[in-house]
Amino acid sequence: MKFVDSLKLALRSLTVNKLRSSLTMLGIIIGVGAVITLMSVGRGVEAQITDMIEDYGSNTLNVISQTPGVKGLASMQSATPSLTIEDARAIAERVPYVTGVAPVSENFVEVTFGNESAMGVIEATTPEFEEIYNYHTAYGRFINERDIGLKDTVVVLGQKVVEDILGTKDPIGQKIKLSGRSFTVVGVLEPKGGQMMGVSMDSIIVVPITTYQSKMFPRKTSRGEDAVQSIAVQITSSDYADYITTEIENLLRRQHRIKAGDKDDFAIISNEQILSLFQQITGALTIFLGLVAGISLLVGSIGIMNIMLVSVTERTREIGLRKAVGAKRRDILLQFLIEAAMMSLTGGGIGIIGGWLLSLGISQIQTSGLTLRAVVSPDIVILAVSVSIFIGIASGLYPAMRAARLNPIDALHYG
């Protein structure tokens, strides 16, 4: 029997039982669609985080406080602050290949103007922040050295904060309140788009670090100095990252008077490290989502197998007749195998299109400035296609073998 004839035969018996074939395919459609959608959402989140971190510049090292001798993220969050503006200055002056250093303290704060209020993220820092993090002012100016020196209550607002509390008013020169204290708006940042942990990157509020330390959220190091949360260090090339890390480490150990053999009270992580950490997390997330979707694919394939088994039983006499008029085992095997493969391939194809459309739809949804991006990449599609081919063959094989093995005499007299 020619392969083309087998194809025609399979197509015919599928179209004869349209409702049954479509319902069986629905299982695969949902399964493949779910795999595509969920994995593309996972990929989207991954891409979003990567973009954002790369936007910050991959040539950035971050120095943060750390409880001595404790590893991991937890030790950084609960650590006693150990870094100061002096540390930042020392790094800028003494470590080679450093192009910019900015001490940064962050906090959530309520910002009000008249009756309007919004939540924003304070970035208390120095003028270098503008360059290191790629923020640029749309109007007015960024904070400057004079603001730092005078501990001025001036503020540079992100686009979203301006929209939320000032509306269409000219923001420059307006007096706004940050946790009850009055600040003068001197500049507005260009919109940046994107988000970090669900907070829009345009919700930031830049104030001078010295103002923050003295008038807003004063914190002291264990040696009684004014503390900063972290120090961002921009370097000329990530190739020197290891060397610079060592240099900063040595410098800060001297600054903090840490004895030889004692552990650091700070940690230095590069943006690349953060990136790879996030990529690990989002990668695991993507795989997890794929596995969840895979369960529905499995259920779909059980559906195919079930229907094929019913179909073989139903057509026992037909199989007997086909054998009587010369069909070989192989012919019968192929007939049923192709039927199963056709169902899973067609289902898979529709599922891919459906999942892709769904991913497009998800990318359009915007909730409170939060956009979820879904990226359908070719490898996800290839994965879904090969899985559906595999499912077709795997779930069709057993029923097809049962059909092929039927004894023609018994089959002819069945039922």
Partner: protein, 238 residues
């Protein structure tokens, strides 16, 4: 009788089935020669082994012991694939309940054996076969739209399509009224006159009388084997 002249030559053939723990000896030593051009009726009570003998002659089953030579080939040694090939190319089957694919047209039903033998010009040949049984006009009708007699003629057209050496008919008139039964038998006789060898299982004596030779089986053995004495008057018709 020398085996050289036989289309079918069966020698000391037995068939034993295992039915649970019981062994059933369906055939207990059959010797038979069927010459080309014969028209044989096999009769016998149910359980006499006539269906088993048909199945073995139809290459659907293999004997337990003994030899079955068909067209000079020892079929008892064939594997499943070679048996399937033999069925497709040299045998035609007609069943009691027609065994047509209900959802396919008469034409598609007749074409079926050609698909498996990989023959070309299938439509043309299937139409010719339908013409031969007088159903060319109904080629695109489905079996469900046809009478029993018409369905059996479609089945005969299907059996004829590969120009088989032998047609095996298992109770071909079992589901037909007596008039239609005679029509079908007349058609078999006509085919036989054209030189086609036919073996038919039946339990109706008047149908068996239409054949040229009657073999009676009992308990897995041939008890009588004799030519039919008086030709049916319809034999000369057409």
């Amino acid at each position: 009788m020398t085996t050289d002249n036989c289309l079918i030559s069966i020698d000391k053939l037995t068939k034993t089935y295992q039915m649970g723990k019981v062994e059933v000896n369906a055939l207990r030593g059959i010797d038979l020669c069927v010459a080309p051009g014969e028209f044989i009726a096999i009769i016998g009570a149910s359980g006499s082994g006539k269906s088993t003998l048909m199945n073995i002659m139809g290459c659907l089953d293999k004997p337990t012991t003994g030899k079955y030579i068909f067209k000079g080939q020892d079929v008892s040694q064939f594997n499943d694939n070679k048996l399937a090939e033999m069925r497709g190319k040299s045998l035609g089957f007609v069943f009691q309940d027609f065994n047509l694919l209900r959802r396919s047209s008469a034409l598609a039903n007749v074409e079926l054996p050609l698909i498996y033998s990989g023959t070309r010009h299938r439509h043309k040949r299937a139409l010719e076969a339908l013409e031969r049984v007088g159903l060319a006009k109904r080629a695109h009708h489905k079996p469900t739209e046809m009478s029993g007699g018409e369905q059996q003629r479609v089945a005969i057209a299907r059996a004829l399509i590969n120009n088989p050496s032998l047609i095996l008919a298992d109770e071909p008139t079992g589901n037909l009224d007596s008039k239609t039964s005679y029509d079908i038998i007349d058609f078999f006789r006509k085919l036989n006159d054209e030189g086609i060898t036919i073996i038919m299982v039946t339990h109706e004596m008047d149908i068996a009388q239409q054949a040229k030779r009657i073999i009676r089986l009992m308990d897995g053995k041939i008890v009588t084997d004799e030519p039919v004495k008086h030709e049916h008057p319809d034999g000369e018709k057409k």
